[in-house]
Subunit: 448 residues, 2 copies
């Protein structure tokens, strides 16, 4: 069980899809379709007992009919047919398999699951799943999963829920940020969160690890792995309530006891605890692309007085403190800005603000005793992305960007910033929440 | 100051846009363009000193050059030119004006603002603004504001921040729910939140009032108006912190003292207090389209075990209680559903759930001792909207719908439910948060 055996999953050069289908709406259709449409460059072998050809690819009846080498197999077939397929895979020398099919432990068929595991061990096949939603790894243009996720980014997602993984992937894709990888764990008969944290930790495409986990087999080893991990790990774990723990036990047969101590462990060791799916995404986005601010003194610059006031409440409640501008800088700004601008904190450029005004103010205040410059774009403000992309390199302060009320212009500008690795948050409270997490991060440097 | 004088704003049959512009990017362009594109059926008169024609409409030099009647004028011109225009409006017999232009009290020009108000009073002209983002009223296809909001819905928005109003409108538009109306208050020289709450209260297109307010002139009258209002009012008010109150005073010259007692007043009188813009939107959406559940016993039905576990934590933390199914109903469901379904609470149909399975379960549990059926669709599940639209009429329980991880299928199904007045929430925590607010609502029936 050497970690490098996971290479066959992530950097496979050939894939067999057992149970590939020509029928829209079937998982065997979606998975093959997504492997093709994500742009996978290696060989793709559909396997189906009846079809001659699927999506223009020659179809095979069984794994052993294929001449070429197969790095990874994806199984989407009834669970009781899987032991025989595993034996063929062993004959064929396949070393990695994803079992998407359900019908194992989660359906009461523990024996079948054990049988599959035994065959895998006999043939040295690493297994992901069963009962999982597959995996994607964008650097290899691999999406053996659904929905189609193919935008390259820095978040490595590990999830015990296919739906949670899918939603994180969808948000990352919609926002143009992308992911490095998504792995759905399923029943974790073999490959588990510990293997994957180790893999992502040494993967240079991954900057942050996003983990949705219900239970862990070996709590001590899990904690040790997290402690050793060099990259920030954001964790969402249900089971905060007694009823939630009961639901977790039912869903994945996880040990409930660990849930009760989990939040305490996060606090103790400085792991990043997310309270819900949205936070799992937002915190991952922040830790993938932002740095820990040098302190908690924030200056809010806005074109929307209302958003500035809301952001102020959120910042104070997040433990930040409002920075003061020096009299000299205030005077300088007063001379050069329209008379109706509010030179204060929040710094309100008001409704007729534009990109150059933001640029001027950010450059002017960068020399002040401020740790965080919190920029809020309210209403459609074009060409602000270029300003921020430029200033991000120049100012020593951490910039956090919020953009709201801007409709299509906002979408365009946000996408530009995201393409340049600058995260944009859509409401004042979400920007403040990530600042709080970044400031409270205790586990050494975020990047490197 | 009779309330009916606001009819000229909402149900105007003719509009003059003073300061209409042919130049893209100018507010005078956007406002005229949006009035046209929202599909306004009445007369539209652009006024511009230099142009002969704007967007295909004949252009006038001044209000008094127009032959026809003018119900509403929208002013987007330098502030110092406004007194003269107000005098012309008086001559022309105009009774309602929106002053979008800034440059008044907020810029230190209190005298100019007072002068404009005096002229308005002399000629019995009601004024919205100045320094505001205009108004929209979808039943009259009126959008004298930006961005373009023209989807008809049930939320009436009143906002002291143009950006907050715009963002609420954008979300409502994107989600296909729409609004009845959005009014940006600006400096509130005349028309204020009290006038508008009264107007919306008697407007049969408005089911919920969404209010972003920084300060009120007459706190006692404001509270009395809210108490008398027959419709739910969701309120977002910054100023929870000392620093937030300072920001509010700077932004709109509002009295800070009221902020300190505000949350207590909401609790005391049962007004719906939102903590941030997202909650203002979500709670408005819930109170516009949902009813107060008869009790707090919830059954969660899901296709995603992970989402079900997360929702359980959120429900318990929101003060709900997990309902129990009777042995008879459990037995009946067990016989008719696939063996891997988890017949419990959360009720997990697992990954191969489909619309008919949801329908069967919801119908079966409707006879049980349950107040709320919390339905979670995880992953792309087609044709679930039709099921929910049908069952909404039939089951006595309040249905709350969450849909996540479904990508394009989710968007399509959500839109169908929204078009039928059934709100869909995109994460378990947001659905639980609205349930908490609905249950805690004390002010009589939500609708009627």
């Amino acid at each position: 069980m050497v970690p490098s055996s996971l290479e066959n999953f992530f950097n496979c050069k050939s894939i067999a899809v057992v149970g590939a289908s020509n029928t829209k709406g079937k998982i065997g259709y979606d998975v093959l379709n997504n492997i093709i449409n994500a742009g996978f460059k290696g060989e793709i072998y559909p396997i189906n007992l009846k079809a001659e050809e699927i999506m223009g690819l020659k179809c095979y009846k069984k794994l052993t009919d294929i001449d070429g080498n197969i790095d990874l197999m994806v199984l989407i077939v009834p669970s009781n047919s899987i032991p025989a397929i595993m034996e063929q895979a062993g004959q064929k020398g396949i070393r990695a398999g994803v079992i998407i099919s359900g019908g194992f432990r989660e359906a009461g068929n523990l024996e079948l699951e054990q049988e599959v595991l035994n065959i895998a061990r006999k043939h040295s096949i690493r297994l992901l799943g069963p009962n999982c939603q597959g995996l994607s790894y964008t650097p290899n243009k691999l999406c053996a999963s659904w929905p189609l996720i193919n935008t390259e980014g820095s978040m490595g997602v590990i999830s015990q829920s296919g739906t949670v993984a899918a939603q994180i992937g969808i948000w990352a894709q919609e926002e143009g940020l992308g992911v490095s990888s998504i792995v759905s764990l399923g029943n974790k008969v073999d490959v588990n969160e510990i293997d994957l944290i180790d893999y992502y930790d040494s993967d240079n495409k991954t900057e942050v690890i996003s983990l949705y986990i219900e239970g862990v087999g070996d709590g001590r080893k899990f904690i040790d792995t997290l402690k050793k991990c060099h990259k920030p790990v954001v964790i969402l774990k249900p089971g905060r309530t007694k009823e939630g723990r009961k639901a977790v036990v039912t869903h994945t047969d996880s040990i409930a006891g660990f849930s009760e101590v989990f939040e305490g462990i996060c606090r103790q060791y400085g792991f990043i605890n997310a309270h819900n799916i949205r936070e799992l995404y937002d915190f991952s986005k922040a830790f993938a692309y932002m740095k820990r601010p040098s302190g908690n003194k924030v200056l809010i610059i806005t074109s929307s007085g209302g958003s500035g006031a809301l952001a102020t409440d959120e910042c104070i409640e997040a433990g930040l403190c409002m920075a003061n501008l020096s009299a000299e800088v205030k005077q300088e700004l007063k001379v050069n800005l329209p008379g109706h601008c509010v030179i204060n904190n929040p710094f309100d450029l008001t409704g007729d603000a534009n990109a150059p005004m933001y640029k001027y103010v950010i450059e002017s205040v960068a020399k002040e005793d401020i740790d965080i410059i919190y920029v809020i774009f309210g209403d459609p403000l074009p060409e602000v992305a270029e300003i921020i992309i430029d200033l991000k390199q120049k100012v020593r302060q951490e910039l956090v960007i919020c953009y709201l009320g801007g409709g299509d212009v906002q979408k365009r500008e946000t996408l530009k910033m995201h393409k340049n690795g600058i995260p944009v948050f859509p409401t004042p409270e979400r920007a403040a929440a990530v600042l709080k997490k970044l400031l409270n991060y205790k586990k050494g440097d975020i990047h490197g």
